[in-house]
Amino acid sequence: MVVVIALVVVVVGSILFHLLSPWWWTPIASNWGYIDATLVITFWITGFVFTAVILFMAYCVWRFRHEPGRVAAFEPENRRLEIWLTVVTGLGVAAMLAPGLVVWKQFVTVPDDATEVEVFAQQWSWSFRLPGEDGRLGTSDAALVGPDNPLGISPFDRFGQDDIIIESDDLYLPIGKPVKMVLRSVDVLHNFYVPEFRAKMDMVPGMVTYFWFTPTRIGEFEVLCAELCGVGHGHMRGFVQIQEETDYQAWLQEQRTFAELWEERRVRTASSDPEQ
């Protein structure tokens, strides 16, 4: 019975591949261990169902294969069995959905002490903005984007003056502090995705989106764009450096504010203008 063997091999092979193959998710570096846990529960439930269904099918094919003299049973319906199966399926589905929704509630509830960090995407690079000493990001608008204001920050908003601008360079974040990643794009859809953080979210021009997480591991983590954004999509990468608080502060001191950059660029523009 080649078919029966093939079905069993498919099941056993899938389980062995899952357990023995070296390909698994990258070690986590954020607080979203709950997401991994829900994923593991889902693997167990679905793996059990897959095994049971396919092995049962293999058994049927073997047990009821055509032989001379075999006559199929005539059984149009079996109400009790159908209701029983429906209830069990419903319970299995609920067992996956319930923890999923609980974790989703956490995922969408940003803690009050989270620091805002803005991610700014354009084809095909990442820039970042930190709120500065006042703890608030200044207003911004895609219509303000220009050579002397690459992130389109309002020059008339006092909250924006001390914002720290990191143009096409690495973002540093302190370990153990929750951050709300505020996501902004000025051209097409992008998606801020760091595999180790587990979280991701699209960046939509005309909108501000967000997600939050707490970094839990020191190191350098690669940012990938996960929403098709044109021919440079595969090369739209960046880095997030998770550091101890002291190292983070040292890095922060070297960064420049919007007011400084704005002044410098205006001077440069003015001096290069022959009319002046």
């Binding site: 591949f17 070296p22 990258t26 889902t42 199966l85 021919v231």
Partner: protein
């Protein structure tokens, strides 16, 4: 219900409308080119769909060359994005939708419900020619300057119509949108036909609850498509306006490469809602006909009635209805309001229940059956494997928080290829092996069929099962080359090369299958009138293949459901639907 005694006055109502004979062609062109016979239109639809499907097959090879061997075959990013976009669009719309509804729908609906033809034969013919035009416009986009669009099959604005995307500022995207608009117009003409034929042209005795599940699947899918495609239609028209007339339906204030564009005020998310309001039902527009057909294949080849027929019908209808309120599970990380996630995760997982019931009932149809391992049965079994596998990974992606790490990775690609690529294709293959004898009067070659089956079944599983793990590692989709980032602790290069090699072999087996169809149409073994000893009406025609008008002078009269197999006391192990046989000793 199953073994209803023959009471002429009750079970077979009198004919309400006179028998209408379809228009009879007088010219060669009228018979073979501009045919109004649904059977011929079905073959035209299928042949066109398979022809354009071959283009998609070649494109998938090119994609796998890039992914499997990026150092050897390095295509430009432009070309790669054009390959994946056109591959996806062709497979979903121009192959799967067209072949299930335009192909099997046209061939089987009139025969299975006992009609002479579709109710509007001229509109039916027009449907095919508009579909062909849509395919030609699609093909034309390969030959315009800039090439076809490379926006991904989802065509998300703003990038779809901007210069950073292949075809965005050239003709590629315009032809794509025009082709989709034409396809929807053509489909609507066909779809209205299928629905009205099922509702109005069933023969005497063919009650709705006696219809084969194939008809139920195609009928429900068609109703859904008639409701879902308009959303895509308006989205295409609006994007065309944004691109050509400078409107801003989907375009907010944009800065492209430092340049301020003249758009403002629109929302890219609106397009995603419109697209997926079509796009999710689309999954079931492909899946429901497959569900119906596979139920019939399992029943016929296991010589046993479909288990829980009424439950199966209601499951089809409930899945069809629910599929209209789950669309935003494609948008969990799109930036829509995060609280939508609670609603859409719940509806999405609820839809798993009627779907699981269908799987149980297929298994319980096999249980205590008399299983003939014919080619259609083999493909039906492989459908169950791939569909269960792909359906279960859907529970990962539907459960909103589990979707967050997996969305936009290769896990998603593996999931939807398994569940709506491979699984429906298995049914299409099984259906062709099953109904080819009806269409041509000849059996397909068994040896070639066995090779085709084994290579396709094992091969597709070898392609798409490991691909889930590439996504689990974290590799995003739509990357021509992932390189060597630090998050990949075990390189996936070897796995990618393995998947590519499997894909080339599986593709080659499809060429053998097409050769088999062509070869067997002339040289196949004579099938006789009803080679599978099936009970449903399409096998009871006076001639095989059925002639113009399908039936002899009188339409058949239906006395029973389509699943009277192995009925105790019956002279044979099946009773045709138009057989007035009655159990002599009435059961108490």
């Amino acid at each position: 219900m199953a073994n209803i005694p023959y009471r002429p006055d009750e079970q077979v109502p009198p004919a309400e409308v006179p028998d209408v004979h379809p228009p009879h062609p007088h010219t060669w062109i009228g018979r073979w080119v501009f045919s109004q016979d649904a059977k011929y239109i079905a073959i035209q639809y299928s042949a066109t769909a398979i022809a354009i499907g071959l283009v998609a097959l070649v494109l998938s090879w090119l994609v796998r060359l890039q992914l499997g061997f990026p150092d050897v075959f390095s295509f430009s990013a432009e070309a790669y994005y054009q390959f994946i976009t056109m591959h996806g669009m062709i497979m979903v719309i121009y192959l799967l939708t067209a072949i299930f509804l335009g192909g099997f729908g046209n061939y089987l609906i009139p025969l299975m419900v006992g009609a002479r033809d579709m109710v509007f034969p001229f509109v039916n013919m027009l449907s095919y020619w508009v579909y062909l035009l849509a395919v030609l416009v699609l093909v034309a986009s390969f030959f315009v300057p800039g090439g076809p669009t490379g926006a991904g099959w989802t065509l998300y604005p703003p990038q779809a119509i901007l210069s950073g995307t292949p075809g965005g500022q050239d003709a590629g995207i315009i032809l794509m949108l025009l082709s989709l608009i034409l396809f929807i117009i053509g489909f609507t003409m066909g779809g209205l036909n299928y629905v009205v034929t099922v509702l109005q042209a069933r023969t005497r005795g063919m009650t709705l609850m006696r219809m084969p599940l194939t008809v139920w699947g195609i009928f429900t899918a068609t109703v859904m498509a008639l409701l879902a495609f308009p959303a895509l239609f308006v989205a295409c028209v609006m994007m065309l306006f944004d691109r050509l007339l400078g409107t801003s339906f989907f375009m907010p204030t944009l800065v492209e490469m430092g340049e301020q564009l003249s758009y403002g005020g629109g929302s890219p998310i609106v397009f995603q809602h419109l697209f997926w309001f079509f796009g999710h039902p689309e999954v079931y527009i492909v899946a429901l006909p497959a569900f119906g057909i596979v139920s019939d294949l399992i029943s016929v080849h296991a010589r046993k009635n479909v288990f829980g027929y009424r439950m199966m019908v209601w499951a089809i209808v409930i899945i069809g209805a629910l599929s209209f309120i789950v669309w935003a599970h494609h948008m969990y990380v799109s930036g829509m309001h995060p609280y939508f996630g609670f609603f859409f995760a719940t509806t999405t997982l609820i839809i798993a229940v009627p779907t699981a019931i269908k799987v149980y009932n297929w298994l319980l149809t096999l249980w205590r059956g008399d299983i003939h391992l014919t080619l259609p049965m083999l493909f039906a079994l492989s459908f169950v494997v791939t569909f269960v596998n792909g359906g279960l990974t859907g529970l990962f992606l539907g459960n909103v928080v589990v979707d967050v790490p997996l969305s936009d990775t290769m896990f998603v690609v593996a999931h939807f290829h398994m569940v709506m690529g491979v699984a429906p294709l298995m049914v299409i293959f099984g259906a062709i092996y099953h109904w080819h004898p009806l269409m041509t009067g000849r059996m397909l070659n068994e040896a070639m069929g066995q090779i085709h089956f084994w290579v396709t079944f094992i091969g597709t599983y070898a392609i798409f099962f490991p691909m889930h793990y590439v996504g689990l590692v974290g590799v995003p989709r739509r990357y021509p080359e992932i390189g060597d980032p630090a998050f990949i602790t075990t390189p996936v290069d070897g796995l990618n090369a393995f998947i590519s090699i499997a894909a080339f072999i599986v593709g080659a087996a499809q060429i053998l299958f097409l050769f088999n169809i062509a070869w067997s149409a002339r040289n196949g073994r004579d099938a006789g009138g009803n080679p599978w000893r099936a009970a449903s009406l399409e096998w009871q025609t006076p001639q095989t293949p059925p002639r113009h008008g399908n039936w002899a002078d009188d339409l058949p009269v239906v006395y029973r459901w389509a699943y009277d197999y192995s009925v105790p006391g019956a002279p044979e192990d099946f009773i045709a639907q138009d057989d007035p046989w009655v159990q002599q000793t009435a059961p108490t």
